[in-house]
């Protein structure tokens, strides 16, 4: 392998023997499918060479063939732990291209859904950090809470994981009373469990010894690697897309951005933990201030009309036909919209040439961009620390490969 050239001249007199460990594509500790060939000196990692692309599904090429409403299911499968954020990010991109005005109620409902999704994403990551240090109980308790959020999604859009939530212009229907009941139940039960989980690990001697000063990265290197999201905030940079370029009425809500200091595993754990508390606070504020109004914008060219009108009204019939067949007129333009996903700045760069499908759609995937720093972060650390670093960086294979 071409890694040996860099070590010529540094090998001491007695030949140093390195072993190559294949942290192979399918491995129970790597959460997702990506491979790392580790060159190890005993237990210490000298070099790592990652290979990704095992779950590449050609989303960008696929998006060039599908009408705009049909692209939402593929955005689901990017960061599948927080699928609603991807869906709503895509809808907001198209609405930006069209220049539609979205009613306030829709925006507040979207905020509720996105913050619920953010909580589920951080739940997975923190539970898995616990699992990788040996604390399996926390994982089981938190996943029970994740079931409650799945039930909320199911009430609203019909699906649990790959939600395909909402439509361009709003939601399919207003939240039913059953959905509100489930949301309130979640808001009542979840904080208790989260506090219990936090007390399990936050000041736990073993956890702190395993995670403090492990897998750290400095703020300058992180910015140069274009980190974003909790990984960047753990290094001390308070860049959050919700505050820098507010979208979807985030400026109406009062929340703080937690930052860490070292950028190590403990900081990432604590940043995500605190972000979950902040998300709960945002959801409560959104429910308290929820305005009345329509649950979708007036975009008849993109929003399916109600079925009664389709059967009785000629115009609605034609709109329905055009939307389902994907023959609506799209304005030409070039737009970039970013949302704060669970892992950072999830961006959609859309170029439309007026045709029924995008001319070019590029997903700016935060996971792909910060995973390239992984070999540098684990150099010189032990194998167990490398596993912990990978799970704390919340590498989700779907977003890595698209």
């Amino acid at each position: 392998m071409n890694m040996d050239e860099s070590l010529i001249g540094q090998v001491p007199a007695e030949e140093k023997q390195y072993s190559y460990l294949n942290l192979g594509p399918t491995h129970p500790a790597t959460h997702g499918i990506f491979q790392n060939v580790l060159k190890m000196d005993g237990e210490i990692i000298v070099e790592a060479e990652p290979t990704i692309g095992y779950i590449h599904r050609a989303f960008e090429k696929l998006a060039e063939r599908r009408p705009y409403a049909q692209i939402t299911p593929i955005t689901d499968r990017l960061n599948y732990c927080s699928a609603p954020i991807n869906n709503l990010g895509w809808h907001m991109t198209v609405e930006k291209l069209l220049g539609t005005e979205i009613p306030k109620r829709v925006q507040y409902l979207r905020v509720i859904i996105m913050e619920l999704a953010r909580i589920t994403d951080h739940l997975v990551c923190n539970a898995v950090i616990g699992v990788d240090t040996g604390a399996l109980t926390g994982f089981v308790y938190l996943f029970q809470q994740r079931e409650l959020v799945y039930e909320i999604y199911e009430e609203i859009c019909g699906a649990r994981l790959t939600t395909n939530i909402g439509r361009i212009g709003g939601f399919e229907r207003d939240f039913s009373p059953k959905a509100w009941k489930k949301i309130h139940q979640f808001l009542k039960e979840f904080p208790v469990i989260l506090k219990e989980f936090e007390n399990l690990l936050k000041r736990n001697r073993i956890f702190m010894d395993r995670t403090i000063r492990v897998g750290g990265i400095s703020a300058e290197r992180a910015l140069s690697y274009s980190f974003s999201g909790p990984n960047l905030r753990a290094t001390g940079v308070d860049y959050d897309v919700r505050v820098a370029t507010p979208y979807c009425s985030y400026e109406d809500f009062d929340f703080i951005i937690p930052v860490g200091t070292n950028g190590d595993v403990y900081d990432r754990f604590m940043v995500r933990q605190e972000e979950m508390w902040q998300s709960l606070s945002i959801i409560k504020q959104a429910i308290d201030k929820l305005p009345d109004g329509p649950f979708h914008a007036k975009v008849p060219e993109f929003y399916l009309p109600p079925k009664e009108e389709v059967y009785n009204n000629m115009e609605a019939l034609i709109y329905h036909f055009k939307i389902v067949m994907g023959e609506t007129d799209i304005p030409k333009g070039e737009v970039y919209h970013c949302v704060e996903g669970g892992n950072g700045e999830l961006g959609f760069y859309l170029i439309s040439d007026g045709g029924r499908t995008p001319f070019r759609l590029q997903f700016r995937r935060p996971c792909f961009i910060y995973y390239q720093a992984y070999p540098e972060i684990i150099k010189g650390s032990m194998l167990s620390d490398a596993i912990l670093t990978m799970s704390s960086m919340n590498v989700i294979a779907g977003e890595l490969d698209a």
Binding site: G53, K96, Y336, F368
Partner: protein, 166 residues
């Protein structure tokens, strides 16, 4: 208010690299500058270091293939986190000879972004430490995101249409 900040960025760029600018526009409030392809790495370094612009965060590198013009556009999106300003730089390369300088010496994050652009469009980045395919198999001979290639891989012999139903 934003207009004056954007004008300041354009003026800073014009005073040193005025002749490289081909077109300036602001679609959907996003300042977009189309440049000539020769000095792009220099210009990005200048925008990185200059105190008035300070574009020290690379948001993304992407490519767009225009088959009628026979050109591939490379789109760099930069972000100044301190002043919260964004900038998009575009260069156009000929499809049959898409070569440009790598900016990995300026931004470490450009490493995989350029590898992805090479993998899918065949753009050669000079000076890249490790330019090989990243998401596709190493044995692939085509550059799949180019418009002439259909969505499905025509070189596969293992998919039987009678079984998979068209």
């Amino acid at each position: 208010m934003e207009g004056s900040v954007q004008e300041k960025i354009i003026n800073t760029l014009k005073e040193r690299y005025g002749e490289e600018i081909l077109h300036i526009e602001t679609p959907y409030d996003f300042l977009t500058v189309t440049l000539k392809k020769e000095k792009i790495a220099e210009i990005i370094r200048y925008l990185y270091e200059n105190a008035d612009t300070r574009f020290q965060y690379l948001t993304s590198i992407g490519a767009v293939h225009y088959p009628e013009l026979n050109q591939i556009a490379i789109v760099y999106q930069l972000h100044n986190l301190i002043a919260n300003e964004r900038l998009r730089l575009k260069i156009y390369l000929p499809s049959d000879n898409a070569v440009t300088d790598s900016i990995t010496s300026i931004f470490l994050g450009a490493n995989w972004m350029e590898r992805e652009t090479y993998d899918f469009y065949g753009v050669n980045f000079k000076g890249h430490p490790n330019l090989k395919r990243i998401l596709n198999v190493d044995e692939m001979i085509i550059f799949p995101m180019r418009k002439e290639y259909p969505l499905e891989d025509q070189t596969r012999e293992d998919k039987n249409d009678a079984m998979f139903g068209r």
